[in-house]
């Protein structure tokens, strides 16, 4: 067969395509179809519409290039929470396990850092709360105002990080992002 194959470009293409399709089916499509049906934890809280909007902003800004949401059953991952399970990701598209930890894992950040004010200051300028941080400052999700209006969420940014005497106010986007981060709490049915 080999001696004929190298004279027949149609056969080469056909074998390559069929072989690859079979492998793709076995290694990717079938297992993916199977595991995507994993049931969520019974009683796990459903994300609010606002937190879901925050998740879309998280995708838009590419936060997942530096932050994993993927705790492995290893001692090096202990600080980040319990090992991640398939049910943690049910219904998420895309699931944000990630491949790089330039910043810390966020699978359980809502539990580990439950302060909304901290998250808002940190998003406005991470160096205001962590001097050595290299995370981008998301200043465009905040507004510098002369005076506040009713319902404004004022972010108490240290003086060194806010220009002049204006107050820094979180936009609805900043709040959505912070609430998404706060919603990242690993669920345990035993709780």
């Amino acid at each position: 067969m080999a001696s004929r194959l190298h004279r027949d470009h149609r056969a080469i293409v056909a074998f390559a395509a069929i072989g690859y399709l079979i492998l793709t089916l076995v290694i990717a499509i079938l297992p993916a179809s199977k595991v995507q049906g994993t049931l969520p934890f019974p009683g796990a809280p459903v994300r609010t519409a606002e937190a879901e909007r925050g998740r879309q902003l998280y995708l838009k800004e590419g936060c997942g290039f530096c932050h994993t949401q993927f705790v492995r059953d290893l001692h090096v991952d202990r600080p980040f929470g319990r090992p991640s399970l398939a049910a943690d990701y049910t219904g998420e598209a895309p699931a944000l396990l990630g491949s790089e930890r330039t910043g810390p894992d966020l699978a359980n950040i809502g539990t580990r850092q439950p302060s909304e004010v901290w998250h808002l200051i940190h998003l406005y300028n991470p160096r205001a709360v962590m001097p050595q941080s290299v995370m981008p400052a998301y200043g465009w999700y905040f507004e510098a105002k002369e005076r506040t209006d009713a319902g404004d969420v004022v972010v108490p940014v240290p003086k060194a990080f806010s220009s002049s005497d204006k107050v820094i106010v979180a936009t609805p986007d900043a709040l959505a992002l912070a609430r998404y981060l706060l919603s990242l709490r690993q669920f345990s049915p035993a709780q």
Binding site: H6, G19, L23, A28, S33, V35, A95, T102, V134
Partner: protein
């Protein structure tokens, strides 16, 4: 015999149009290279910027230039703009030459080129605007862009398939196995990656592992190896060491490479059998990798003088070594122990540059310097070639060493249970070195761009070519 001595008018006409078709093949292959170079420069800027931001995070604090948006612009532009267009330009030429036939339709190739240009440009614009499918590596582009890219793949794949179909020799040269295989596989894996029906929850992770790895291994690797199977013997003026090793590499690459993507998600909630088989087959990858690398090195055996004399062969040699060593490094990274300490660190980013740059980019440059003058009639400037080679080589070595060390330091601070910020403080001086390496690499890209201009088609030559019978312009 008499027909050769006194060719009929009809024969001369046919030969002239055939030579003109050759010139058209050369023109479109060159256009691919020009646009690839444009995207190389864009992608380089998009790589330097986030590198600098890791040391100066408040540098250019504009939304559309922020780290998370520009990182995928870098990866997608150098993947689909630079590497893909350059390799396909070379593949067009290789398929045509080894088939002794002009490209089936240069017009179709030009349409595909503009589809791809529109796609990559659209990718830069949409990702900087924040229209992204999120951090799913190399498939961040929104689906209409993916559809355009896929259409270009179909057009080019069909075009090359038809070209090989009109070959003047009975055998399909080994390069064309790889080139046709690559188009076939990219189409399948790209469609698989963008179909949403099995991608919820952990299903998405299974597909991400499959996709992010096979996009590299079943497209860039295959095309680069295919191009090398032509460029290396051509430049050395000797046959490839073993045709059979080439065939072995082709099929084993398909078998092993397709299966190993899950090694990006070791210790994750995807099925354990997938993880284990991915590690096993990563070891199996040594078969195609060393079948290819060994075959190329054996072809080069005793050709030290030729390598010294050539300005293309040193690039190919680095590329071949980059292939063997980079891929072997990848196998070791797949092991569970390596995953514990090195996964999630900069070590992986160093590895991806050892392969996409020290392997893929160097093969492209070697093949471009070796082959383009053969069809444009103009040579590059030798001094600028030298500048290109050394800046690129020293740059990528600094880059890979810096990130490998940074990765080990990150892994060590994590294993020691120190506060997370310690890993950033440890990596920061090495990130500066990464930028230094990156600047050298950027300088080498400018040198390459100057040489691409220097190698532009010589109009007088292509007129001469169309004026003489085809037999004298064809190489043996």
């Amino acid at each position: 015999m008499s027909a050769v001595a006194n060719p009929s008018t009809e024969l001369i006409t046919r030969q002239r149009s055939s030579a003109a078709a050759d010139a058209a093949t050369a023109r479109v292959a060159y256009q691919y290279l020009v646009w690839a170079t444009v995207w190389l420069l864009v992608g380089t800027v998009a790589g330097l910027l986030p590198a600098i931001k890791l040391n100066w995070p408040d540098f250019l604090p504009t939304p559309w230039l922020s780290f998370g948006r520009i990182r995928p612009i870098h990866t997608n532009t150098v993947f689909w703009g630079w590497s893909t267009m350059a390799l396909v330009g070379l593949a067009i030429y290789v398929a045509s030459r080894t088939s002794r036939a002009p490209l089936w339709s240069p017009a179709l190739a030009r349409i595909a080129l503009w589809l791809w240009n529109a796609t990559v440009f659209g990718g830069v614009v949409t990702l900087s605007a924040g229209w992204s499918r999120g951090p799913q590596e190399y498939r961040e582009w929104v689906w209409p862009l993916a559809a355009l890219l896929g259409l270009g793949v179909v057009l080019n794949g069909y075009n090359i398939y038809r070209t090989v179909g009109t070959r003047q020799l009975p055998e399909v040269y080994i390069s064309n196995w790889y080139i046709l295989g690559a188009f076939c596989w990219l189409l399948i894996l790209y469609v698989t990656a963008y179909l949403p029906i099995y991608e919820s929850g952990v299903g998405n992770v299974v597909i991400q592992g499959y996709y992010m790895h096979t996009a590299v291994g079943m497209w860039f690797t295959i095309l680069a190896v295919g191009v090398t199977y032509y460029a290396l013997p051509r430049l050395l003026g000797r046959p490839i060491y073993s045709y059979a090793l080439g065939v072995l590499g082709f099929w084993t690459n398909m078998l092993f490479y397709t299966v190993i993507g899950a090694h990006h998600f070791i210790f994750s909630p995807i099925p354990t059998w997938l993880q284990t088989i991915a590690i096993l087959f990563s070891v199996g990858m040594m078969v195609p990798v060393w079948a290819g690398t060994g075959n190329f090195l054996l072809t080069l055996r005793g050709a030290r003088h030729a390598v010294h004399q050539s300005y293309a062969l040193p690039f190919l040699l680095v590329g071949i070594l980059g292939y063997g060593l980079g891929s072997t490094q990848g196998t070791f990274e797949a092991f569970r122990t390596a995953n514990i300490y090195l996964h999630f660190t900069n070590f992986t980013v160093g590895h991806s540059h050892a392969t996409m740059y020290a392997f893929i980019a160097f093969i492209i440059w070697g093949a471009a310097y070796g082959l383009v003058p053969q069809f444009t009639g103009r040579e590059p400037n030798p001094i600028i070639v030298g500048v290109h080679f050394w800046l690129a080589l020293v740059g990528v070595v600094i880059y890979v060493v810096a990130l490998s060390v940074a990765g080990v330091l990150q892994g060590m601070t994590w294993a020691a249970g120190r506060s997370f910020i310690a890993s950033i403080v440890a990596a920061e001086p090495l990130w500066l070195w990464r930028t230094v390496g990156g600047l050298l690499m950027a300088g080498s890209h400018v040198a390459f761009a100057v040489n691409v201009w220097a190698m532009r088609p010589d109009v007088r030559l292509s007129e001469q070519i169309s004026a003489v019978p085809i037999a004298s312009t064809r190489h043996a």
